[in-house]
């Protein structure tokens, strides 16, 4: 398949390159989920990936984090070619993925969940310091650190998923639908926290159905449709474009 027409709105703010996805294709058996997705994330940048159900948002994240092997295209991360690399080899290089549906370990305590986030690290002092940082970011988690993660509320579980992903000290945080199933107020809190995370220098690649929220938060956005990028542009520019307003914001 040839390069699809990508409608680009506005100029992109300059960031040093961190992740480059180039024409990545993913198939589940005979079904082609990604037909050649190209996107970039810079150091310190927040990039949102929006689109309808089945557009390939989650598949893109999974290909980036090494949970899916692309059948075509290239992915490079932090200056290295990481096409087809397994997840456990990417985590130590600074990739953290908070999977869809939160993916916390329900029968382990909050503390044990966080410890698993630091699974590949062995610097006890650094882990303890980072643990304190995540407690500062999400005070609720400190209160509940002895509690089973499955007994947390939805918002707290999402906070735990983010905190856990951050404990691997990522350069890039992949977030799959952090607002899924959460009350608007809780979602707002989470996105405020994410701003702090980003301010601390962590790049974020965010998949969201809530286009309004995601584009407001992101520096840059991509619109995915049936496995292809059809539009790209700075978050604010996308928000103002009539196509987006019509298709994703219900106006």
């Amino acid at each position: 398949m040839s390069e699809a027409q990508v409608k680009v709105l506005g100029a992109r703010q300059e960031f040093a390159p961190l992740l480059a996805v180039d024409g990545v294709k993913v198939s589940y058996g005979a079904i082609q989920a990604l037909k050649g997705v190209t996107l970039k994330v810079g150091k310190g940048e927040v990039v949102a990936l929006i689109g309808a159900n089945g557009a390939g948002k989650t598949s893109t994240l999974r290909a980036v984090s090494g949970m899916l092997k692309p059948v075509g295209g290239r992915i490079s991360f932090a200056g290295e070619d990481t096409t087809g690399a397994k997840a456990h080899t990417l985590v130590p290089r600074g990739m953290a993925h908070a999977p869809e549906g939160r993916g916390i370990f329900p029968n382990l305590t909050v503390l044990e969940n966080l410890e698993l986030g630091a699974y590949l690290r062995s610097d006890a002092d650094g882990i303890a310091a980072d643990m304190e940082k995540s407690y500062a970011l999400f005070p609720k988690l400190k209160e509940r650190r002895k509690q089973f993660a499955g007994t947390l509320s939805g918002g707290e579980q999402q906070m735990l998923a983010i905190a856990r992903a951050l404990l691997s000290r990522p350069k890039l945080l992949l977030l799959d639908e952090p607002s899924l199933g959460l009350a608007p107020q809780v979602t707002e809190t989470i996105f405020r926290n994410l701003k702090d995370v980003n301010a601390a220098g962590v790049s974020i690649l965010l998949v969201e159905q809530n286009a309004h929220l995601a584009l407001n938060f992101a520096h840059y956005g991509y619109v995915l449709e049936t496995g292809e990028v059809v539009m790209a542009g700075p978050g604010k520019a996308l928000l103002e474009s009539p196509e987006i307003r019509k298709a994703y914001l219900g106006e």
């Binding site: 382990l108 503390l111 590949l120």
Partner: protein, 354 residues
């Protein structure tokens, strides 16, 4: 808190010098086992029952590493037991007439028993690796079907192999197993299982059990850990089979059917998936229960016909008890916890970190 110490790599109780901590359990276990051996030397039935119980404990504790800790549903454990039993049996038969002249006969026998057991254990581990590598990429029911198939394949292969005595089985294997030897392997499998549970290795297995996708995202090499757990588990199943072959006069394919596999699964589920002590208690309970029912019913009817009639409802009662237990405690006896976490009041030692 044990979890905090697990990350920094040290577990276990404080107060014991670190250098001693590793061998301390061995120093405690050895004299206990030798005394037990001496006490039971005149009671063949008690020795036999204890050995059967021990073999079941080894099987249940080792299967718990895969089914309980890692959350993979394997139902072919008897297959690995068979591999161990036959390979250890054949090794012992081959070494039957050899003895180490510089050692007393009893000691020399034990040395060869260990050699045979290791042959059985390592073969079973190898089988576990070969089966595990492709099949552990599958999930849930699919893995169960593959392991089930494997167990049956082993049985059919053995039934049709001359060297393994076909359907008649192997007989004449030197009956060199002792209560002390069986007990030592029980001790070893429990030690290994608890050490895994307390290490970062165990933490990875838990993560896989809880949510495989999330575990992968955390950087856990899920396939690698699953295969490792499978290999360790198969090794001990092979050892259990090897021990079995050295105190049961004849081993034949009928000892390693799907029913045996299910029996082990029942022990693990009943004890609580993930609980080592639960697996032990369930294995002891389910080994003794039929025997206890037998004696109970025998006591009821002194008339032979009545005793026989009553004896026939022994197995239904066993089944009924299982149903009642699963209805009242679906998470198993101890859930994912260990004995001392479930009933802390019974143990004077204070709980850490609470």
């Amino acid at each position: 808190m044990q979890t905090a110490s697990a990350v920094s790599g040290s577990g276990g109780s404080s107060g014991v010098p670190a250098s001693l901590r590793g061998i301390l359990p061995v120093l405690v276990a050895l004299p206990v086992l030798l005394v037990l051996e001496w006490l039971l030397s005149n009671s063949p039935f008690a020795s036999y029952l204890l050995s059967i119980m021990a073999v079941n404990i080894i099987l249940a504790v080792s299967l718990n590493i895969v089914n309980g800790m890692t959350g993979q549903f394997s139902i072919g454990h008897a297959g690995f037991m068979a591999v161990g039993a036959y390979l250890a049996g054949v090794t012992s038969l081959a070494l039957k007439d050899v003895a180490l002249s510089f050692l007393p006969v009893a000691v020399s026998d034990q040395v060869f028993l260990v050699v045979a057991l290791l042959a059985g254990g390592i073969s079973a581990a190898l089988a576990g690796f070969l089966v595990g590598l492709p099949s552990l990429r599958l999930r849930g029911d699919y893995l169960a079907i593959v392991t089930l198939g494997f167990g049956e394949i082993i049985r059919v292969v053995v039934t049709n192999t001359e060297a393994f005595g076909r359907a008649l089985g192997l007989s004449g294997i030197p009956q060199t197993s002792t209560v002390a030897m069986v007990g030592f392997w029980v001790f070893l499998v429990v030690l290994v299982s608890r050490r895994i549970a307390g290490s970062s290795h165990g933490r990875s297995l838990w993560a896989i059990r809880e949510d495989e996708v999330a575990a992968e995202a955390m950087g856990v090499n899920t396939t690698g850990y699953k295969v490792r757990a499978f290999v360790i588990s198969s090794f001990f199943a092979g050892i259990a089979g090897g021990l079995f072959a050295h105190f049961v006069p004849i081993i034949n394919p009928g000892s390693f059917t799907f029913v045996k596999s299910m029996e082990i699964v029942v022990m693990v589920v009943l004890g609580g998936l993930g609980s080592t002590t639960g697996a032990i208690v369930a294995a002891v309970f389910l080994t003794l229960l039929p025997e206890a029912l037998r004696s109970a019913f025998a006591a009821f009817g002194s008339e032979s016909t009545l005793a026989q009639q009553v004896d026939q409802i022994r197995m239904p009662v066993y089944g009924l008890l299982l149903v009642v237990l699963m209805l009242s405690r679906p998470q198993g006896l101890f859930g994912t916890k260990e004995l001392w976490e479930v009933i802390p009041r019974w143990i004077p030692r204070r709980r850490k970190g609470m």
